[in-house]
């Protein structure tokens, strides 16, 4: 295995597996171009980017570590309320530190709840994630003097970013700000899933018995991943609060947890880029259908999901893989 031995192909292949492929730049080109082409839709665009970040955080635990959750909005909501409460009650309107605070608080909540609920698996775990989001929802609902209860926290101002860029009426600053945060988060998550830590999460998903038997500290890895994912979800929630200058109970609901799960499944789970495809597809469909079919639009969303479950189990990316494999076979 020393120097004279020419590096063998499988070792080379593994060493290259993390290299950036040109296609991975596509989301950024599309997002950049959309800024100019769809300039009247920028507020929707920012919301889509926020959900991409939220879905990305979910993919880290669901797709890579195999942690099934219906409570991920707990962290999104804590991030959103952190920003809102700091701005309304603390007069802390600086956006970057606000976002960091949102991430830290959500991350701490991830550690605390993770230590308790990640002792379980399967249905029990699913129920416990639900319990967490319901408890936090009820806490936000009842603590009206802090959270505004059902009215939420409204019309707080957020300072210009870096003291330079004000949040404008057209959502330009909000869009670019969200895009920049998403880019940093993507670079981080991408590094993470290709790191030894990320591969060991995949190991846990693939075979937890074997992970124990090779001496992996399984629970610690899972809690760490859960906390990182929670922090990212918290940042996504913080972004929503900052860009809409409103925080309501709908940030911390079971519905939001379920919706982001659906968006991720629609795009494709465990492939990093499903999170970039599901949310735009779902939200644009929702926006268009709600406009054109104000009465019936939910039916079409349901139909879309049925089609995905029947014909594209791996989501859009899984479908593309299948079609590509078929195409390659045909050409041979």
């Amino acid at each position: 295995m020393l120097a004279p031995n020419p590096t063998v192909a499988p070792v080379e292949q593994l060493a290259r597996s993390h290299r950036l492929r040109p296609l991975e730049l596509a989301p950024w080109l599309v997002a950049g171009a959309s800024f100019y082409v769809f300039d009247i839709y920028l507020p929707l665009g920012a919301q889509i980017l926020i959900n991409v970040l939220f879905a990305l955080s979910l993919d880290l635990i669901l797709g890579y570590a195999g942690i099934v959750t219906l409570g991920h909005a707990a962290f999104f909501g804590v991030g959103a309320y952190t920003v809102g409460i700091l701005a309304v009650h603390g007069g802390w309107a600086e956006p970057l530190t606000g976002l960091i605070a949102a991430g830290i608080l959500a991350g701490v909540l991830g550690i605390v709840t993770g230590l308790v609920i990640l002792r379980t698996h399967g249905l029990t775990l699913l129920m416990l994630t639900l319990a967490v989001v319901f408890m936090l929802y009820e806490a936000a609902n009842k603590a009206t003097h802090i959270t505004g209860g059902a009215d939420g926290l409204q019309a707080f101002a957020i300072d210009p970013i870096l003291g330079l860029f004000r949040f404008d009426l057209f959502g330009r600053t909000a869009y670019l700000y969200t895009l920049a945060v998403l880019f940093i988060a993507w670079a981080f998550v991408r590094l993470l899933v290709h790191s030894p830590f990320g591969r060991s999460l995949t190991g846990v998903r693939e075979n937890v018995t074997r992970m124990h038997a090779i001496g992996a500290p399984v629970r610690r890895r899972l809690v760490t991943a859960y906390a990182i994912s929670a922090a990212l979800a918290g940042i996504a929630g913080g972004l929503l609060a900052q860009t809409t200058q409103f925080v309501g109970l709908n940030t911390i609901t079971f519905e939001r947890s379920g919706e982001i799960l659906i968006m991720l499944i629609l795009g494709g789970v465990g492939r990093l880029y499903g999170a970039f495809i599901g949310p735009p597809l779902f939200m644009i469909a929702q926006d268009t259908l709600a406009k054109n079919e104000p009465v019936f639009w939910l039916f079409y969303i349901g139909l879309l999901l049925v089609l995905v479950v029947m014909f594209a189990r791996g989501g859009v990316l899984g479908l593309i893989d299948t079609l590509w494999a078929w195409f390659v076979r045909r050409r041979r």
């Binding site: 063998v8 060493a15 993390h18 590094l191 591969r199 693939e206 124990h212 001496g215 890895r221």
Partner: protein, 251 residues
């Protein structure tokens, strides 16, 4: 107990009223070639699971190189040099063969928790894993997904993963089970060539393998040790012939 690689004292395990391990006093010498045999349901795999910490004993102690490991987690025992293979493959089926072994080597080398480097760029770990594949003659399949391999080759990946942990004590739970005869020859050869510094305990039903490989044999029946001795003594023991070998010949 210091010259022993592994020992158990008065080890018991009950599932309610069912006793699956009863007062097992077991010793595995350093560098041993030791076989554990017994009819189906004798409690052999349970015994392995107690040693590795998959199951907690009801009473009794377990010692690894003189240290009491009874209360340690599975992971802590592995870190102290206890490696195993499973009777039914426990592999990362959706990952490549090389990645399977890389995960084990990385874990042993303490590099598996790294977040800020790419996994494949840790050359020392990947090349060590590849070296194991070469030693077990499965390097040709390094880039294939484990689930694409025939069962016999998957059994070799089990062994490669265990060796990637550089165990001082290796527990092999029916390494050749379910493997067609022509493929099992490779597995037998691999077991024969295991480094002499590793103490090996093998559970096996194939008596040819057991008698060729083992210098000590322990026979278990109904959760207890029936008899222990050199292969010739075991083969000559009337009780063993009755409960195990005789039964095996008819079956």
């Amino acid at each position: 107990m210091n010259d022993l690689a592994l020992a158990t004292t008065a080890l018991c395990k009950n599932f309610g009223a069912l006793t699956v391990a009863q007062n097992i006093d077991f010793r595995l010498a350093s560098g041993a070639r030791h076989a554990l045999i017994g009819p189906n349901g004798a409690g052999k795999t349970t015994f392995i699971n107690l040693i590795t910490g998959r199951l907690a004993p009801s009473s009794g102690r377990i010692w690894l190189a003189g240290e009491d490991i009874t209360d340690l987690s599975q992971a802590a025992r592995v870190k102290r040099g206890l490696g195993r293979t499973f009777q039914i493959n426990q592999l990362f089926r959706g990952l490549s063969v090389l990645e399977n072994v890389t995960l084990a080597v990385g874990e042993r080398a303490g590099a598996a928790g790294d977040m800020f480097r790419f996994a494949g760029s840790n050359r020392a770990v990947v090349e060590e894993a590849y070296g194991l594949l070469e030693a077990l003659r499965i390097a040709d399949d390094a880039s294939k997904l484990v689930k694409e391999l025939p069962y016999g080759r998957q059994r070799l990946v089990e062994i490669a993963i265990a060796l990637g942990l550089r165990p001082k004590v290796l527990l092999l739970d029916e390494p050749a089970a379910g493997v067609p005869a022509d493929e099992s020859a490779i597995i037998l050869e691999v077991i024969d060539r295991l480094p002499s510094g590793i103490a090996v305990l093998i559970i096996e039903h194939d008596m040819d393998l057991v008698f060729r490989f083992a210098r000590t044999i322990t026979v278990m029946v109904q959760g207890t040790v029936l008899v222990e001795g050199a292969p010739a003594e075991i083969a000559a023991d009337a009780r063993v012939r009755e409960v195990y070998l005789g039964e095996g010949r008819h079956g």
